[in-house]
Symmetry: C2
Subunit: 329 residues, 2 copies
């Protein structure tokens, strides 16, 4: 039995050389280079949830990506997760909640405009994933926003500035809206936060968008079956959503942890996009301790697609265990 | 911040009651109940691999499912993996290897006939997954078989007994073919192994199939880029395949471990379908120690879809870490 990688690759090389004598043919089916559609469905009681992938970013990790961890520490975490070093490959996963009476999209992805502005992002697959899952943009009754970072709100608009979901009411956390629309807060913010945060929010919050906005409060239902939960820190009004039906529930955590292979494993790490990293860490620990204790299903915006699973304790942090892919809904 | 599951569900119930006053409407898009197509593509050098899911079985776990573990121990393993107790939900994942000059399907799934015979299986999604991935059955140039269990060979035939892949050469491990076609071996086998093994093999090995069979040897190339590796135990001729190109490789392990959430975590467990469980365990430990040491990519037939990832040490066993879903190939 030949089992070392070296022996295997050696045997393979010999065999490849031997096969060179055979005349090359073209396969009956071409290589396509096309990935499968990025959607996944599951049920919570009578509610049907569809995860709709907006792509995966690939950005070089620069200084300050994690405020209190070195690049070596980050690379060690990437290596432990069998991921490429020096790069952040970040998944983006909005969801569609179909209650039977309402079709609500939670968060909108990076959008076309943001994609063009930030070369590092290769998101904006949401329209493709929605179409593959059978959703017309006009059929979205509501867009529920968790917080005002660009990868969650920029997809509200098409590249030409028109509404991406023209029939949708836009439901936003009151605390989040108030923070980012406050000129006093903007005047005290760092320059990147002004450019990518406050100014971007003002660009997206066009007259057309503002007309459709309804703010919602924590601990209340946003739409039937979907309750807003306060999880501030990442942003001041950052909100998670519990989707519940028939005694079942899933905790849609938005960015309580950003990519779990970094920030669930290391709940003490302070991500550069956290507005209040200390509050973000406290929220993260409380939420994750609850998820572990209650074995609660969790949906994570920056989890690897299909981005739904459970959480367990692991070392000094936590680890996500994605659900086994089901061939049925 | 209301964070316990009990509080969340309570808040949700109150909110649901409050929303009952609103008139019920029908959503603009119906719930579909339709899962996404079960395929996933990735590259190994110049080779394109497409994982094509054949479904997930759901079978009650009876006595003897694992020869040397109690039902309580099995349930504990299922619970640790956040899976339903008392049931084995087993994924089936053939792959298509497109080298550019050849399109080879590795293993064929449970097939229509086997599905009808074994009520517990809800596989036979392979034709649907192949079609979704753009493969016509006529475009399959070769079928490579890892071993002769029914979930690997029965898909060679349609329900009417005709060839499922009419243009394919059928490449089978010589040691495996010789064992299951040996009447002396059949005369010494247990009754279930005769019915579901030897007799099933004789049914599938029709004159049409036998005409297309070519046996292959271990440590040799099966098709260019694909080398057969001896991994006996699960069956006497059980074979894994290393797919290598451009200095990259993936180890397609077939059933070196059956479902990893049971048998990678517990490499000492003897699965009822192992013909020689002691040899199967020895093979499993050697292969998994190599996969861990070399951080080699592994594709597992009974891994959860997309069934490709890496392996790490975990407790007294191993644990699979599936790749993060990539939106590109």
């Amino acid at each position: 039995m030949s089992l070392s990688r070296r022996e295997i690759m050696g045997a393979s090389a010999v065999a490849v050389a031997a096969s060179m004598a055979a005349p090359p043919l073209r396969a009956a089916a071409p290589q396509t280079g096309q990935q499968a559609p990025g959607f996944y469905r599951y049920r919570v009681g009578s509610i049907e949830i569809t995860v709709v992938n907006d792509g995966v970013s690939r950005m070089p990790i620069g200084e300050g990506f994690v405020e209190n961890a070195s690049k070596d520490q980050i690379n060690a975490a990437l290596e432990a997760a069998f991921l490429e070093k020096d790069f952040y490959a970040g998944p983006y996963n909005p969801i569609v909640i179909n209650t039977g009476t309402k079709v609500a999209l939670v968060d909108t992805g990076t959008g076309e405009a943001a994609f063009k502005a930030s070369k590092g992002l290769n998101g904006r697959l949401l329209p493709i994933s929605l179409a593959a899952a059978g959703f017309d943009a006009n059929a979205i009754d509501a867009v529920i926003i968790s917080h005002y970072h660009l990868d969650h709100i920029d997809g509200l608009l098409k590249a030409d500035g028109s509404l991406a979901f023209p029939n949708a009411e836009i439901l936003v956390p009151a605390a989040e809206h108030n923070f980012w629309m406050d000129d006093g807060e903007m005047s005290r913010a760092t320059k990147p936060r002004v450019v990518f945060g406050f100014k971007n929010v003002r660009r997206v919050m066009s007259a057309e968008v503002l007309k459709r906005i309804r703010t919602y409060e924590w601990n209340k239902e946003v739409i039937p079956g979907v309750t807003a939960i306060a999880t501030p820190g990442h942003t001041p009004g950052h909100t998670s959503h519990v989707i519940a039906s028939g005694g079942k529930a899933v905790y849609a955590q938005a960015d309580v942890t950003h990519a779990p292979f970094l920030f669930a494993r290391h709940p003490d790490w302070h991500f550069m996009l956290d507005v209040d990293p200390v509050a973000a860490e406290a929220t993260r620990r409380k939420v994750y301790d609850m998820l572990v204790a209650d074995k609660m299903l969790v949906q994570g915006f920056h989890y690897p697609f299909p981005a739904v699973g459970h959480v367990e304790k692991s070392g000094t942090g936590y680890r996500e265990v994605l659900v086994n892919w089901s061939a049925t809904v």
